[in-house]
Structures are given as structure tokens and as C-alpha cells.
Symmetry: C2
Subunit: 300 residues, 2 copies
């Protein structure tokens, strides 16, 4: 199959996906073209999914990789409280995967795209000795409405959506619901929209583990955090996995203590403090920086 | 160096770069935030630059790789007749390149960014056994003003900016002006803007070689093309290199014969015909599909 034929095939698969009216031209030109409505901001994120770092060909089917690649970026759109608009997908694959594997990759990606109404509007395609994916997602929010990392204030409560540690448990056991959760993470788009409507003070998604990500949120907000030992932990997962395990793709957010946050939206896990920016305490002990750091490889 | 420290350093480098007012939040959050002005469309493109496919560590310095990665995407913005707004840069590097090499990469990229006023607004960072880069660029055009591949009509003249074959010559000889041209391609942003103002009928950039790229333009426009044997060829390059050599990053465009196109903007190289869509004739001979196809690897 030539690149031109492959692009034609991807274009056909993409045409079965959702069409966002903001996308005026999709696949087929040098660029995708988007027409904004008035009084909207747009948010943009890009995330790698790399073979043998974020997945292996042995454990992940092509459709799983497609799902995960889009889910990672959608999770960032969720963290901003935005509505998905379109994505660009850059994919490089070994020659032997350029046929059926690539098609199944796009089918997995498009199945998730359909559920969140996001248009596949373009990307790049290349050959490489390993599978590398980079997905750019664009979302929209009412002007000035983005949920940022930088808005947390001393005294705010800290919350997380859902449970923690499930993805790390799944990665360790490779079975059951936890493994499925690791394979097919669900971006918290609806929760993000609800948090924006409620006007929380700060928000980010948990991709590298609570300890590291909360530290990043605190650094941006110039605050520290006290986490209580009452975390919502996935059944079977350890506290260690809940604190430092990556890829839960839940949202961590903060809100003034007076603001009502229903338990169905988020579990309170601690409180924001003044103090050394970026320090995170758990059960009154200062937490060593864990989580997934690509260059030190501490944690999971 | 940890990922957090590296990101802090990149952020400092990025802060020295141009700041586009449309970018409300840059590096430091889950997403970059852009605020559109009214009556504008936005165009988006993403392009890989992969080690040992698009460059080697032996022939390209870190700053060359940074330049090339941004230039490839800017060239797509040029093809749409757009003004650069912001970029997202996804970079994965081996651990041993995560210090000085990575810094020099961003310096090379930012030097080009400054010249075209494009803001580095975010991206992703990872570790991998080889260097992989994926740059997403966003540009803006007056509403409905994008130059597309699909507007060429039978009877239109075909033009190219600059000269052809220089990059392929440089790659073959690795010396002189041609090699410099291959190392540091210059995106034709100004030419693209001028073509939009003049209202040409179709435009695209030449990344994979005239024969393949013109074929793609013809397929989108449902036309064929007749190329004359009077191509503007870089001194020392062969006709073969001018027809099939990749990475010239010039613009190929079409305009009605009555429209005045100054020679300083583009050299006429042929004429659009009705006929089998996608067929390209050179010197009255049907041209085999050459150029760079990632999966068949025909041509250079």
C-alpha cells in the first residue's frame, strides 16, 4: 500500500466519524481549517503515545493504542473544562503494520472520537521502526472560562473525580477490571464541563500520578497541599499506587471550602495551604516526589 | 535533570521568543489557550521529524533539527496563505540528549520562530531511544481566505516559487549552498501571504517532490497537469532531482492565465488540464509517480 492509498483509506474511516461544524476543511489539504464562533476561547494539547514506553504490541491491540492515544489528549481537554472540537493524529509505524494494524488503530481512535463528538481533521503519517503516535486535540470554552492549574488558593479543598490507583494496579496484574481500565482509560469530559459550570478554582488531569501532578498544580498556584489518608482507592490497589501510579486520567481540582461539590462529582482528599510552593504532604508527612518522570523514571 | 526541571528550562527559553497576543495561556497548563479575533479562520498542521528518516545526529546539529522541525510545519502554514500564530512541540529524546542537546534544539527552533512571530505555546516531552519530533503549527487567515489544494481549474497556469531540486542536490553532495538549503529550509510565509492577496486558485507546499505533490493537488482539484521542460532548477541539480526530490519547501500554485503573477513571486511551469484526475505529464510524457512515499520509498 502506498502512503497516498493509506491516506485515502484513513480519510474514509474518518468520514464515518463525527463532523464538528467548526471544522471547515478536514483531511486532504496542507492544513485543517477551523472557523471559530464569537466569545469562545480554544484550548490545545498534544500527547505522545510511544511503543514500549506507553504500550507494547504484545499487550495492546491496535484499537487499544488508538483509544489510548486519543484518551490521553481528551483528558487534557477535560482538565480545562472544554468541549472537544477536533484532533490531528500523527502516526508512524513499521512498514509491516501499515495495513490492517493501522486501520484498526484508526477504528479504535474513531470509536472514542464518536462518543465525544471530536472530528479527526488531519495529521501526519510516516514510517518508523517502532509505533509512535502524537495526538493534538482542540477544545472550546466560553471566553475566559478555562480551568487552569494556577487558581488554587490557601484554604481551598482538594478533590479527585473517581478512584485512584486502578491503572497502576491493572498494569501490575494485567487482569480484571483494573487491566481494562489501564487499557481503555476514560477521559472525564463530562466532569470537566460540570466543574467549569460550578466554577472551581483550579483543575488538572492525573496522568503521571497524584504526588507529581498535584505538585505541578501547587507550583503553578504558588501553594502547598495537605492530602488526607482517606483517598478513594480502587479496590485491590495500594496507597503507593494511588499516590504515585500514573495514567488514572481522573481530574484533581480545588474549590473554596464553602462551595458545594457533590460526592458524585469528586471526593475531598485534602486542603490547599500557604507554605513552600509545590510541597505536598500526605498524612502529615512530606511526600517525596514520586509519579512518572520521563527522565528520572522514578515511580510507575 | 528531571522532566519538571527540563520543562522549566524550556519555558525560560520560550519566554525569550515572540508572544502572540492571541495566545492567552502558553506553557504550564494542561492546554494552551487561544483567543480568536472575529472574522478569522484558523489553520492547523502537524509534521513529524524523525531521527534517521528526516535527519541524522551525525549530519544535523540540535539547532538544525529544531529549525527543520518548525520549518516543515511553517511551510504548511505558508501553503494556506496564513499568518503564523502559535506552535506546540512534542519532543522525545534519549536520556543522554535531555540536557544540552535539548536546549540547543529549542534554541534553533526559537530562532526561526522569532523571525515569523510564532509563539511556542506548549507541547509534550518524553524519553525514547531515538529523537522524534512532532510540531503542530496554527496560523490565521481572513474568514474563507485559505488557499486550498482543491481550487485548480483546467486552463490555469501552474507556478512554483524559487527553485527546485536544491534540497535533493544538497542531500546528495552534503556541501555548499545546496547542503545549507537542505539543513535550513526557509518556509515561504511571505510568498503565501502575497498569493492569498492576489487570489490564486490553488496552492500547496513541496515537501515530497513536485511529481508526487502536484499529483496530490490534481487529485484534490479533479484535474491533470502538463509540466513544461523549462523548470527553474537549482544550479547543479538534475531534472530528476527537480521533479522528484523532496524537501524543497517551495510553493506550487495555480492561477487563471489572465492573472498577472510577477516572476519574482513564481515561475510558470505548466498548465492545468481536464483529463484523468491526478495525472501529471512532463515534456508531454506521462510521469511515473515519484517523490517520497513513506511506505514504498520510491524516490528521494
Amino acid at each position: 500500500m502506498t502512503e497516498t492509498e493509506l491516506i485515502r483509506r484513513i480519510r474514509r474511516i474518518a468520514a464515518e466519524g463525527p463532523v464538528n461544524k467548526a471544522v471547515v476543511h478536514g483531511i486532504g489539504d496542507d492544513c485543517a481549517v477551523m472557523r471559530p464562533r464569537t466569545n469562545e476561547d480554544f484550548v490545545f494539547t498534544t500527547d505522545f503515545v510511544l511503543q514500549d514506553l506507553h504500550f507494547t504490541l504484545e499487550t495492546h491491540k491496535a484499537a487499544d493504542v488508538g483509544h489510548k492515544a486519543l484518551a490521553r489528549s481528551l483528558s487534557d481537554l477535560a482538565a480545562m473544562g472544554s468541549t472537544p472540537v477536533f484532533c490531528l493524529v500523527s502516526l508512524a509505524v513499521p512498514k509491516e503494520l501499515s495495513g490492517r494494524w493501522t486501520e484498526q488503530f484508526y477504528r479504535g481512535l474513531l470509536a472514542l472520537a464518536k462518543r465525544y463528538g471530536i472530528t479527526l481533521a488531519g495529521g501526519d503519517l510516516s514510517r518508523f521502526e517502532k509505533v509512535i503516535v502524537d495526538v493534538m486535540c482542540c477544545g472550546r470554552v466560553p471566553r475566559g472560562g478555562s480551568l487552569l492549574r494556577s487558581g488554587a488558593k490557601a484554604g481551598d479543598r482538594i478533590y479527585v473525580t473517581g478512584e485512584l490507583g486502578g491503572s497502576a494496579l491493572g498494569l501490575a496484574t494485567q487482569k480484571g477490571a483494573a487491566w481494562k481500565r489501564h487499557l481503555r482509560p476514560e477521559p472525564r469530559i463530562q466532569a470537566g464541563l460540570e466543574l467549569r459550570r460550578r466554577g472551581v478554582s483550579a483543575c488538572m488531569d492525573l496522568s503521571d500520578g497524584l504526588s507529581l501532578d498535584l505538585r505541578r498544580l501547587c507550583l503553578e498556584s504558588n501553594v502547598s497541599a495537605e492530602v488526607w489518608p482517606s483517598l478513594p482507592i480502587t479496590k485491590g490497589a495500594t496507597v503507593e499506587q494511588a499516590l504515585h501510579g500514573g495514567e488514572d486520567y481522573e481530574l484533581v481540582f480545588t474549590a473554596p471550602a464553602r462551595k458545594k461539590i457533590p460526592l458524585s462529582l469528586g471526593t475531598p482528599i485534602g486542603v490547599i495551604k500557604a507554605g513552600t510552593p509545590g510541597e505536598v504532604f500526605y498524612d502529615s508527612q512530606k511526600l517525596a516526589v514520586g509519579g512518572f518522570d520521563h527522565f528520572t523514571q522514578a515511580g510507575g
